[in-house]
């Protein structure tokens, strides 16, 4: 096996333009290794979410190619590709007419697992994200708090044990206390599960808490890619702006 074996995802000179010609991403080169947590950091509208959607083929690149597990996404059958990739978004997008258990069981059901296996798995997942199955399995999303809903969202993404997870500001809409709780639980979860994670955020503290590496995006370009402390040392103005947020004394306790 060559070095490719270590790469879960690779961006090769990827650009993405929308129909009216506006460039959202230009010439992105990026390698994401198995088991690492890559945080895509940047302001709103810098292209983070677009980058994410190129991985599970919700979008196709205009130029270059994105490889997942050594194959270009355009060669993957999109449905197969997406079922190997967990996906968590800020709005969560739970199905309001499904119970918590049905929401969590969605992908295993689509994959045709046996009923009993699905049930066991969904209960195991609910426990993993800190929701007691006896209390929550039969409830409906509108009856849950925001934090509980996002725990279900994470459990749903993990259900079929995908090697890769994409997370698009999953904790962005939560109150600060709940957000902190979930971030920390997610950290310990990741230490056990060792998934390949691509995590989008504009919250620099969250980035430092979770990232093995950070990719900093500005106006569709990757201005910095490296370990979190490289961001602190960088001379790039955007990196300095984010680093400054981190040094805010009122938030200093989260500094590494």
């Amino acid at each position: 096996m060559d070095g490719n074996d270590q790469k879960a995802i690779e961006f090769r000179n990827v650009s993405f333009r929308v129909a009216d010609g506006k460039t959202l991403l230009s010439a992105i080169n990026l390698e994401i290794y198995r088991g690492e947590t890559l945080v895509l950091l940047g302001r709103s509208g810098c292209g983070k979410t677009t980058t994410l959607k190129l991985i599970n083929r919700l979008l196709d690149p205009t130029e270059g190619e994105v490889q997942v597990e050594g194959r270009a996404t355009t060669e993957w059958e999109p449905i197969r590709l997406r079922r190997r990739i967990g996906y968590v978004i800020q709005e969560i997008g739970l199905f309001p007419h499904f119970t918590v258990q049905e929401n969590v069981s969605l992908v295993p059901c689509l994959e045709g697992w046996e009923e009993e296996k699905v049930r066991v798995r969904s209960h195991q997942l609910l426990e993993m994200v800190g929701l007691e199955p006896g209390r929550f399995a039969a409830r409906y999303p509108p009856e849950l708090s925001g934090g509980q809903r996002q725990r279900v969202g994470v459990a749903r993404a993990l259900a079929a044990d995908p090697p890769i997870m994409l997370l698009d500001e999953p904790f962005g809409a939560l109150d600060p206390i709940t957000r902190r709780e979930l971030q920390q639980e997610f950290c310990s979860l990741q230490r056990r599960l060792k998934k390949t994670l691509v995590f989008v955020t504009h919250d620099v503290q969250e980035a430092f808490l979770l990232a093995s590496r950070i990719g900093l995006l500005k106006d569709g370009k990757m201005v910095l890619l490296g370990q979190p402390d490289e961001l602190l040392k960088s001379d790039d103005p955007e990196a300095r702006a984010f680093a400054l947020c981190l040094r805010d004394p009122r938030a200093s306790e989260t500094a590494p």
Partner: protein, 523 residues
């Protein structure tokens, strides 16, 4: 007779018409759902189609029902040897009702699915749901409340619109309403209107309940599989229903007799039918009550084999010739042109003429000494006139009439013919154009003014039949011949009065008349 008594006495018929009505509404709404929901879904996938498709459905809703019937009847569309479109009867009524019901169903399906939270759709797609899975497991269940609301609107509209179906012999509660209008009988009108209103109300409540049940969480608790089964059963039931409604069920030795939609016509249709039953072994199918020019269209299309037409009407309204005054010449011309253009044959005249009768109240005629139409010239500018839609539009109708007699009324009210008598009696109008054989003329003591300038062409009543039918069953020609010259104007007026004034059943009136004339009843 009050409404309660009427329902008691005619409960079997009321039930039958209500069931017919229910069948019309149920089948048409069902078909509209089968077409409208998939179309609405397709529009969410191809949004650029939404403007033309919704535009089409919108236009369909604005087309008047009689116009739509006129367009649908000549169609001849077959699917697996079963005629699915065209002709008179339930088939065409259902097609029209489907077209009317499409808009709310398509629109609500389209907007319902489009209003599903985009985050939910993105999550589903991102987790690897196929478009079909997303549609059936997420988008449809989440918009089912909105879709059902559209179906509810369509159903309630259909219950009302289906009353028009009686104009093309499709049955339903409209029969009572039309009959009541014609006979000036409020009880009969209510006997059709009240059950229809109750049905609309019931449909609204029931579907409203279903809608709420589906919108709330009950849906989540239902097993999706059982919903799928329920849909399959519903669709199968609908298909069987359609099959029964559409299946021709026509025995080979059978003739169909039609009529237009007023009392005299139904009496004459019944007379043709009974004469044929008396003189031949053929089974007779009665397809009466066809509105507007539908009887003619049905005859040309082969939906019916004969009905009674009036020479002047055929000359002007159907052949679009200029009005003539000589009765023999008119008969000769329509006979010749019908042969050549339609393959239809004018048999022997029945013996009476039903011309337009310009009518005023008896007291006015007496007070103002009115005898001929030209006598009213001085009063017309102060009078209101009430005319049927037919009179207003036909070439031998209002326009030439007003020109010939140099009349100008203070107001023209265009309304259903059967309503004009009532309007005249109730002093809503001062002059109407009725039919000279109408039984109501005597009943309301109206006076018919003489056509002293001979404006109206002759309107001799003559059975018109398909040449093909006469060739195949010469005995039908024989049967029609026995009716030649049988009825005088006075006798026709008397027959009309017995039905309209005395509310006797038409079958009985005709049977007695034929017995009196020596033509025996069904063997």
């Amino acid at each position: 007779m009050n409404l309660g008594e009427f329902f008691l006495e005619h409960r079997a018929e009321v039930l039958e018409l209500t069931l017919e009505h229910l069948l019309l509404v149920g089948l048409s709404t069902g078909i509209a759902v089968l077409i409208g929901v998939p179309v609405g879904i397709a529009l969410t996938r191809k949004p650029w189609l939404s403007r033309p498709v919704l535009g089409f459905a919108n236009i369909m809703q604005t087309v008047p029902s009689l116009a739509l019937f006129g367009f649908l009847i000549p169609l001849n569309i077959y699917l697996f040897h079963i005629r699915v479109l065209g002709g008179i009867g339930a088939r065409t009524a259902i097609a029209a009702l489907v077209l009317y019901a499409l808009l709310p169903i398509i629109r609500n399906t389209f907007t319902g699915i489009n209003s599903v939270d985009p985050a939910i759709r993105e999550a589903g797609k991102g987790m690897g749901m196929t478009d079909r899975q997303l549609l059936f497991q997420v988008e449809i269940p989440l918009s089912v409340g909105v879709i059902l609301a559209g179906i509810r609107v369509a159903t309630v509209i259909s219950v009302g619109t289906a009353t028009i179906a009686a104009a093309i012999d499709a049955g339903g509660l409209g029969r009572y309403i039309f009959r009541g209008l014609r006979m000036n009988d409020n009880t009969l009108i209510l006997a059709g209107a009240v059950p229809a209103a109750l049905m609309a109300l019931a449909a609204d409540l029931l579907l409203g309940w279903v809608e709420r049940a589906f919108s709330s969480r009950i849906f989540g608790r239902l097993k999706r599989r059982s919903i799928a089964w329920a849909s399959v059963v519903a669709v199968l039931g609908l298909a069987v229903g359609i099959g029964i409604a559409v299946y021709p069920g026509k025995a080979s030795h059978r003739v169909a007799i039609g009529s237009k939609d007023f009392t005299e016509q139904i009496i004459l249709g019944e007379m043709l039918a009974q004469a044929i039953e008396a003189k031949t072994d053929l089974a007779v199918e009665r397809r009466f009550d066809l509105g507007g020019n539908l009887a003619h269209q049905a005859l040309v299309a082969g939906e019916i084999d004969a009905y009674v037409e009036y020479t002047g009407t055929a000359l002007t309204a159907i052949l679009h010739h200029r009005p003539l005054t000589d009765p023999k010449e008119v008969y000769r011309q329509v006979k010749q042109d019908y042969e050549a253009n339609f393959g239809l044959e004018w048999t022997q005249p029945l013996g009476f003429e039903n011309t337009f009768a310009i009518l005023v109240r008896g007291e006015d005629a007496l007070r103002l000494n009115l005898r001929a139409i030209s006598d009213i010239a001085p009063y017309a500018p102060k009078w209101r006139a009430g005319f049927g839609q037919d009179f207003m539009s036909r070439p031998d109708g209002y326009e030439g009439f007003a020109r010939t007699y140099r009349l100008k009324f203070s107001e023209l009210r265009e309304m259903d013919l059967s309503l004009t008598y009532r309007a005249l009696v109730e002093r809503q109008v001062d002059l109407i154009a009725g039919n000279s054989t109408d039984g109501l003329i005597a009943r309301y003591q109206l006076v018919q003014l003489r056509d002293n300038r001979r404006y109206f062409p002759p309107y001799d009543a003559v059975p018109v039949a398909r040449r093909e039918t006469l060739r195949k069953y010469p005995e039908v020609r024989e049967a029609l011949r026995t009716l030649g010259g049988l009825i005088t104007v006075d006798e026709m007026r008397q027959l009309n009065f017995e039905v309209d004034g005395e509310h006797r059943p038409i079958r009985e009136v005709v049977r007695d008349f034929l017995a009196k004339k020596g033509i025996s009843g069904p063997r």
